[in-house]
């Protein structure tokens, strides 16, 4: 089978170029065969040998659809140009090929699993591309910024090089901020035996600290017994899962789940992030040998759903005007929280305008799967390949897009920017904090407020 002809200018990424210059063919052959023999099994073989080459999966992929049906972006093409060749040639491929594999697997696929849902056999293309990422990662062929993020995970156990003191300091600062709204609010650190451990992703303390203030207010209003760790293990995100460095992925997830066990909580509630849920709920535990996390983890969507449904949080004033929401693949298609998201959106919005397609059929924002973490070199192609979803957003006529996922948030901001949609991008908690009722006794006293 001839390699697919790619008609676009290749993106330049220094780390990939350096790695290409360094790799030897013996090394490549060894790693490919090692991964295929030791880390895969019947599944990969069956997928490759069952695929009837019908091309039906193409229709599922936003890369393909957004790029005028460019064949090189079809899911089956992505496996054809990577794992099929590795298997056929038994690992005898060159460094340029591995570089192309990384481009395809790391930067041109979000592992969103939409194609798996549209293949008549249920062939999991995303799984095969993750195997390709694993091979690339073991060879050191990982886009620069993604690799840097993985280094951050490895060194600090969080995504953003946040040092232990910066973390605690930020929490203490946000506790004070929260007390501006609700003077009795507290962000309890290291409270053993609390009901809930709240965990977030690295960018929250680094860039979006107000979200930590928001949750402090929400927890107080809902009257919940919660805590956050003052040690590493607070970050639930995991780019190592996406680069293919599964050992670091597991180390990060293990620490996160052991921190919850150390704090003796009943559950972990996590902020609005899709891939972090995937890592903490599936990929991390699976590698560790846990069927599910030892302490259950609850995604923000489900958490807010429970709070609103049970009346622990009441809505005082719904957000006005048409508002829509992205459906983050990792918590919707791949975790089934679609109807809960619709419920909470309707609860806090006067006019929730749904996307078409919605729920598990919704398209990825094209930031997921680590692609946005591949950084500036790849941004143009990534945003260009989100055209389809930009049209879907536009059709809703909303003034705001809610993104209950950090990657989606950044990705959708890029979309709004590039396609001049003129919409705001918000997390759900930002809407909730505006809409929810703060009981009289929790409000600042009059004289203090003046």
């Amino acid at each position: 089978m001839k390699p697919t002809i790619v008609k676009r200018e290749p993106v330049v990424d220094d780390a990939l170029d350096q790695c290409e210059a360094r790799l030897t063919e013996e090394e490549i052959e060894k790693v490919i065969n090692e991964v295929i023999d030791k880390e895969t099994g019947g599944r990969l073989w069956t997928y490759v040998n069952t695929c009837i080459h019908c091309g039906l999966c193409a229709e599922a992929c936003h890369w393909y659809l957004s790029n005028d049906r460019d064949v090189s972006f079809a899911p089956v093409t992505k496996v054809k140009d990577t794992i099929w060749v590795m298997l056929e040639k038994k690992g005898k491929v060159d460094a340029a090929f591995i570089k192309r594999c990384s481009q395809i697997a790391h930067t041109e696929c979000n592992l969103c699993r939409r194609c798996g849902m549209y293949c008549p056999f249920g062939i999991d293309i995303a799984y095969m591309l993750l195997v390709v990422r694993r091979i690339c990662a073991k060879l050191g062929m990982v886009p620069l910024y993604l690799q840097d993020t993985v280094h951050s995970h490895a060194a600090t156990m969080n995504q953003m090089w946040v040092k232990p003191d910066e973390w605690i300091d930020t929490l203490q600062w946000q506790e004070e901020e929260a007390q501006g709204y609700v003077p009795s609010a507290r962000l309890p650190l290291e409270k053993e035996g609390a009901e809930i451990m709240y965990s977030v992703i690295g960018p929250e303390p680094k860039f979006l600290a107000q979200l930590l203030g928001n949750i402090t207010v929400i927890m107080k209003v809902a009257g919940l017994d919660w805590t956050m760790p003052a040690t590493a293990g607070w970050d639930n995100s995991n780019m190592a899962m996406y680069s293919g460095d599964f050992e670091i992925m597991a180390r990060v997830e293990r620490l996160h789940h052991e921190t919850a066990q150390r704090l003796k909580v009943k559950k972990i509630v996590m902020g609005e992030c899709g891939h972090a849920f995937r890592g903490a709920q599936y990929d991390g535990p699976t590698w560790m040998g846990w069927m599910k996390p030892p302490i259950p983890i609850v995604h923000a969507i489900e958490f807010y759903y429970d709070l609103i449904k049970s009346g622990r949080i009441k809505i005082a004033k719904k957000a006005e005007g048409p508002i829509t929401s992205q459906y983050p693949c990792n918590v919707i298609r791949n975790a089934g929280l679609g109807s809960k998201l619709q419920y909470i959106m309707s609860a806090v919005c006067e006019n929730f305008v749904d996307l078409i397609p919605n729920d598990r059929h919704a398209f990825c924002c094209n930031a997921g799967g680590g692609t946005i973490n591949c950084g500036p070199p790849w941004k143009k192609l990534r945003v260009q390949s989100a055209r389809l979803q930009s049209e879907n957003f536009k059709r809703t006529g909303a003034h705001t897009i809610v993104t209950p996922c950090h990657n989606c948030h950044s990705g959708v901001e890029d979309i709004v920017d590039k396609y001049k949609l003129g919409m705001h991008v918000k997390f759900f908690s930002e809407l909730l904090i505006e809409a929810m009722e703060i009981p009289e006794h929790l409000k600042p006293k009059e004289e203090e407020a003046e």
Partner: protein, 215 residues
């Protein structure tokens, strides 16, 4: 020649087909077992749910989006499986040698079903030649598989209508049928064997593990 092709070779073909299929399935299952996580992630309920949504036409969003393909694909596969199994000519042979027999489709209908399969093959061939995505993942083996699939039907049809040298065509037909049977376990035609398993796994992973659905 005819005796050989319609005697020992049939035996051989069926032995290879059945034995090969069993071996393939066994090998796949044992390789999956080594992978540790596969079976713990499976659930019967979600496997069946997935199959129900993908074996019944138009029972999932994707099939609804592509009505023509869905109709062709189902017609093709239904006729492909039913025609040879319930064909009178085949049953007569079976009856002669083994003295067993079952319900047969009237020859007229079977003839039309054969045409459906041949049309299906032409449709798939057309896609393969024109659809850029399919084209890009096509090589000789794909045409060969189409040919292996089509040939027993084409030759069977010719034989039935006695259009050319009947005896020769019949021998070719039987050979073609045997090739197809032998090919099933060892080529991508094995999708017939694995369909149930890949669906069951993906359905389980989406439903049982990920609390979602795969249709």
């Amino acid at each position: 020649m005819y005796e050989f092709v319609s005697g020992p070779l049939v035996w051989l073909a069926f032995i290879i087909f059945i034995g090969g299929s069993l071996y393939r399935i066994y090998k796949m299952l044992s390789d999956c077992k080594k992978e540790n996580v596969v079976f713990p992630h499976m659930s019967l309920k979600h496997s069946l749910a997935s199959l129900v949504h993908w074996v019944i036409p138009f029972n999932n969003q994707y099939m609804q989006k592509r009505p023509i393909f869905t109709i062709v694909s189902f017609a093709f596969h239904i006729c492909l499986i039913l025609t040879p199994v319930f064909l009178l000519a085949h049953l007569v042979l079976l009856d002669e040698s083994w003295n067993i027999s079952w319900f047969n489709i009237p020859d007229g209908i079977a003839d039309w079903m054969t045409i459906v399969v041949i049309i299906g093959c032409i449709f798939f061939l057309y896609r393969r030649l024109t659809d850029p995505v399919v084209q890009n993942v096509t090589d000789g083996s794909d045409y060969l598989l189409l040919a292996i699939t089509a040939l027993p039907f084409i030759t069977g049809f010719i034989a039935y209508h006695q259009l050319f040298a009947y005896k020769t065509i019949l021998i070719i037909h039987i050979l073609a049928g045997e090739i197809m049977l032998i090919a099933i376990p060892f080529t991508r035609l094995s999708h017939m064997l694995f369909f149930v398993f890949t669906r069951a796994y993906f359905g389980s992973e989406q439903g049982h593990v990920k609390n979602s659905k795969d249709w």
